[in-house]
């Protein structure tokens, strides 16, 4: 990595001190990691989310188990395409709906928090190549999201393994679809975190960024779900909303009418994420800090 950095021994002031203490991307990455994990809010929000993913998985495992004996519940579940084909993965991944809110807030805060406090100026003064800062922050947010998602899924599996086995719904990692749903949960959460991080970098304000992220993640699908009942175009738009499309990679079972296939759906979400991050990169480079 340091090989990519131009030699720093400027002829006018070539001191060994300057040589040793120069900025490298690895160091920026370490700095951003220290920043995120030196905030208590990071620790408790990750811990809380892991616990809630386990708790929600238990609820869902219970519902799947009793569905056979309760026609009413079975009917409700049949209406939801995500639950039409019950499997261990459906229960274990169920908490992603909550986890996406945590990672969205955590990701947005990792940049808006610096703007709110003025810390961003100290950051950009230490690392004037701002895209390095942006990339390092994004990587740290993504890595944290992977840790959160894997820990959450592991906790969910541990909490539900005996219930699911009893109902013949044990998680089967040799089943490609279930494996894809588990990996998809991690990928989906990383994409949502990256999207929200991009929104935070664009908006700079915590309130505006979180409002936008929640609006995109939760409110838009609700609005278009209502509209879809009366207008075909709304159904088309609905399928391409970031979360509706992205969530397909978490789902198991046949693709319902009007929705995208898992791979295509995730590609749509990734597309939005890349577009927002690109816009954020341009804005961060150009703007006054």
């Amino acid at each position: 990595m340091s090989a990519a950095i131009a030699p720093t021994t400027a002829p006018d002031h070539g001191t060994t001190r300057t040589d040793a203490a120069r900025v490298t991307f690895g160091r920026v990455l370490r700095s951003e990691w220290l920043k995120l994990w030196s905030l208590r809010s990071t620790w408790w929000s990750v811990a809380l989310t892991v616990l809630l993913m386990a708790g929600l998985a238990v609820l869902m495992a219970g519902a799947l188990g009793s569905a056979a004996e309760s026609p009413d519940l079975q009917q409700t579940m049949d209406a939801d395409p995500r639950l039409a084909a019950p499997s261990g993965a459906v229960a274990v991944t169920f908490g992603y709906g909550f986890a996406q809110l945590t990672v969205a807030v955590l990701a947005a805060l990792s940049i808006t928090g610096e703007h709110a406090s003025g810390m961003i100026r100290a950051t950009f003064a230490a690392v004037p190549r701002r895209l390095e800062v942006l990339a390092a922050k994004l990587l740290v947010v993504a890595a944290t999201t992977v840790i959160l998602a894997v820990a959450g899924l592991a906790a969910a599996w541990l909490a539900t393994v005996s219930m699911l086995s009893a109902d013949g719904l044990a998680l089967d990692l040799s089943d490609g679809e279930q494996l894809r749903a588990l990996g998809g949960t991690v990928a989906y959460l990383v994409a949502v975190a990256a999207l929200s991080f991009g929104i935070g970098a664009l908006w700079r304000s915590t309130a505006a960024a979180i409002a936008t992220a929640v609006g995109v993640l939760l409110v838009l699908p609700l609005v278009f779900q209502v509209l879809a009942g009366s207008a075909d175009w709304a159904q088309d738009v609905y399928a391409y909303l970031p979360t509706v499309a992205g969530e397909r990679v978490v789902a198991t079972g046949p693709t319902p009418d009007g929705l995208l296939a898992p791979g295509a759906g995730f590609a749509v979400l990734a597309g939005y994420t890349v577009a927002v991050l690109a816009a954020a990169a341009v804005a961060v480079r150009r703007r006054d800090a």
Binding site: I5, A6, T8, A10, D12, H13, R17, T18, D19, A20, A21, R22, V23, T24, R27, V28, R30, S31, E32, L34, K35, S38, L39, R40, S41, G113, E114, S117, G118, M119, R121, A122, T123, F124, A125, A126, V127, P128, R129, R286, D288, A289
Partner: protein, 325 residues
Amino acid sequence: MIEAQGLSKVYGSTTAVDGVSFTVRPGVVTGFLGPNGAGKSTTMRMIMGLDRPTAGSVTVNGRPYARHRSPLTEVGALLEARAVHPGRSARSHLRALAATHGLPDRRVDEVVELTGLGSVARRRVGGFSLGMGQRLGIASALLGDPRTLILDEPVNGLDPEGVLWVRHLARRLAAEGRTVFLSSHLMSEVALTADHVIVIGRGRILADAPVRDVVAGASRRTVTVRTPGAAVLRTALERAGGAVAAPDGAHAGARDGALEVTGLEAAAIGDIALTAGVALHELTPVASTLEEAYLELTADAVEYRTDDRGDRLAAAGTTSTGEQP
């Protein structure tokens, strides 16, 4: 060394910094003086590569700030108090900044001790007083042992002991051969700390000179004279080269009128009065304070900017020529 060339910053229809050029040299403390809103902070942010200049350029130690590979060892900056996430401890904040340059934790501990933050370093910054926040900002600035220091209003919020500490620190850093550029809106502070001063008002440089010159020029001396023969004395004083003004709008010829005389010592005025046969009821030398002189200097930047600085300082506010007969 900081070198600015025709540096400008325009926000919409507001020109915050208007084509300033200056050089800040190593080995001395350079004060950057101006009222709030004069463009000090904007200029400093442009030096640091945080704000993009609308026109012009500025280099630090020979190149634009953003081109340095090791910026913290080149420039340490205190740009605003409390540019720190409130949920982070002082030590974590410094460690995160140090990590960008691979500086060891040992250096973090050094600046913590140097700035007197030892007892609070592990506390969260959110609970810090303004003064402790300011010390943390200075600790951040010193982290890379930089050759150039940029301190924006470093004494804001400090108690008298802290003010003294900053003053000594700035002088010591300059004595070590570093470039120290320190802004303030208080002339008295700059006069006590700096060797050289750049005065800015409405985005333009009003003065760029050694502090003692500015102080000498700014501390104009006037003499208040009260006499029943004001008209006669006035003529005599003006013939002797003095500038005479009648304050409070009183007519120079009015009975018991007070005159403000500049350019003549009190003793000389007394002699002239004796020669002219005019009785004196009052003869009081008045030295304007630094603060007053500075207010005059910056009160109307547009009016003063094209004048020669020395004359301008001496003449500022002393005449009300419309009153002359």
